[in-house]
């Protein structure tokens, strides 16, 4: 019984974190801040949801595949966030200056 509760908790935490990331995508004023919001929540939301699913499966081939998916996302998400920020900076997208009043 404890495993179902734990996997439900993980799944809900992942879904809510994804929602937080999506809201951050809309509330932040500038591209670089949105990149910040996206980069963090995506990897952790993927981990929580996939770990929640793997708990429901137990030790089967499916949970190995879920681990593989997370392993891949764990390495490529930061890389793509870096590539996005670097390309935006190279293309000359101006970061938002804070107004020192």
């Amino acid at each position: 019984m404890m495993w179902e509760g734990l996997s439900a908790l993980l799944l809900f935490a992942g879904a809510l974190l994804g929602l937080a990331g999506a809201m951050g995508l809309h509330r932040f004023p500038d591209f670089y801040t949105r990149l910040h919001a996206l980069g963090m929540t995506d990897s952790l939301c993927a981990f929580l949801v996939l770990a929640g699913l793997a708990l429901q499966e137990g030790l089967t081939l499916a949970s190995l595949k879920l681990g593989l998916i997370f392993g891949f996302l764990f390495f490529t998400n930061p890389t793509s966030s870096y590539a996005l920020g670097h390309a935006a900076r190279q293309a000359g997208l101006p970061p938002m200056e804070t107004k020192h009043d």
């Binding site: 992942g14 994804g18 990331g21 699913l53």
Partner: protein, 93 residues
């Protein structure tokens, strides 16, 4: 029942990400939103595989996460090299 609620929440984040893709001011906001939509759809496929009980759908989720990463990198490479997609008011040397 639990999976249905989680699928609905992830669908909501997918919709928010696509909304950002539509109204994103700069080109990079759109690529950012497409990247987020991609990882969220990977999670959706995994959740649907668990909900429908057919766990061989996880290969599709793995493949789609590969494709999503390649799509982002290819789009950025096109912007760097291509002359027509660069940031709008940056005059071409």
């Amino acid at each position: 029942m639990l999976l249905i609620v989680v699928i609905a929440l992830i669908l909501l984040t997918l919709a928010l990400a696509l909304a950002r893709a539509l109204l994103g001011p700069s080109l990079f906001d759109r690529i950012l939103a497409v990247n987020m939509a991609g990882t969220k759809s990977v999670l959706l496929i995994a959740l649907f595989a668990a909900w429908s009980g057919r766990m061989d759908l996880l290969d599709i989720a793995l493949l789609y996460s590969l494709l999503n990463f390649l799509a982002v990198v290819a789009a950025l490479r096109l912007i760097e090299r291509g002359k027509h997609f660069a940031y709008l008011d940056k005059e071409e040397q």
